[in-house]
């Protein structure tokens, strides 16, 4: 790990990981008008973090993005989605009826836009958190005790 034989990989990873994150956010906030959406954006963001852990090691990545943060993010995402549903119910509409979010008259689309963006943010959090949690659970698992550990 300390040798220089991974230096090209690391330099390229350092260049690409921010680009992948930016691309993920682009897909997220552009998802309303283009192909792709929060599910894909969430996976792209998770893949950026996974790439980081593949090139720079699992422990630094776990320090930067702790497992607690990942699974909390997943739960918060689901809560955001469900929360939008209850928000519209509090405003007098049906569950997940975005039209009722701001109580606007028929024909106004602000509620639709805001509702979709918030809901997709929830999906992004849930997918990113769940994917990172799955990766940590698989990659961070300690195998059987090896001979040299005795």
């Amino acid at each position: 790990m300390k040798g220089d034989h991974h230096v090209i990989l690391r330099v390229i990873g350092k260049c690409f990981i921010p680009l992948i994150v930016i691309y993920g956010f682009y897909v997220q906030f552009h998802g309303e008008v283009g192909p792709g959406g929060a599910f894909q954006a969430g996976v792209v963001l998770a893949v950026a973090i996974i790439l980081n852990s593949l090139t720079f090691g699992l422990a630094p990545t776990m320090r930067a993005v702790p497992p607690v943060f990942a699974r909390t993010l997943a739960a918060v995402g689901v809560l955001i989605y469900v929360g939008v549903g209850f928000w519209s119910m509090i405003q007098g509409g049906l569950f997940l009826e975005y039209q009722a979010l701001f109580g606007e008259p028929p024909g106004g689309h602000d509620g639709q836009h805001a509702g979709i963006i918030i809901v997709e943010l929830g999906v992004l959090f849930a997918v990113t958190g769940a994917m990172i949690t799955i990766f940590y659970a698989l990659a961070g698992r300690v195998g059987e005790i090896r001979d040299e550990d005795w």
Binding site: V44, S53, R71, H113, T133
Partner: protein, 205 residues
Amino acid sequence: MRELFTTDAGPALINIALLAILFIVAIAIARLRSLFAIVMLSGVYSVVSAAWYIAVDAVDVGYTEAAVGAGMSTAVLLGAMLLTARTAKPDKPFKRLGPLLICGAVAVMLIYASVDLPGLGDPNSPANTGAGMTYVHVNWYDTGVPNVVTSVLASYRGFDTMGETVVVFVAGLAVAMLLGFGERSLAETLRNTKKRSGKGKEGDA
């Protein structure tokens, strides 16, 4: 690029080439025994099928396949491979006969059914004349969202998407509960890193 796809022979040739690559990769996956090669080839399979989805104008599906199939599952499979042996056990030849017969029968049925499928992009196909067109017509007035796919997913089928989100969350939770959340192994990794001065087992993949 556009001209290449609008000519008659172009799309057919591209489809045939991509599907042939898929077929070869699938055969190679079925015959290989080295798990690392199988994981890498499944990533290749995902990339090629993503290219094929884009060639048949299913950009959303192709994008998902590239992100999830090639990116995410390859990384997860690599992580899973580290927990097990590096090669698969060779199975006895006569044991493959049953699955082979079942696959052959399913292939024959699918090929038989594909004769009745409408052509690609056929405006008179049921998908383009039924409920799908209704959404396309009603969408702008209802939601004002330019992308019909997004408005169908988030507005018309908000419950469905909520269910999907919960499924993703529960999947992550289930895997983490079965395999451990990762902190304990993090502590282990840190201890190993300290003890062996950076010669931890992480990052070898």
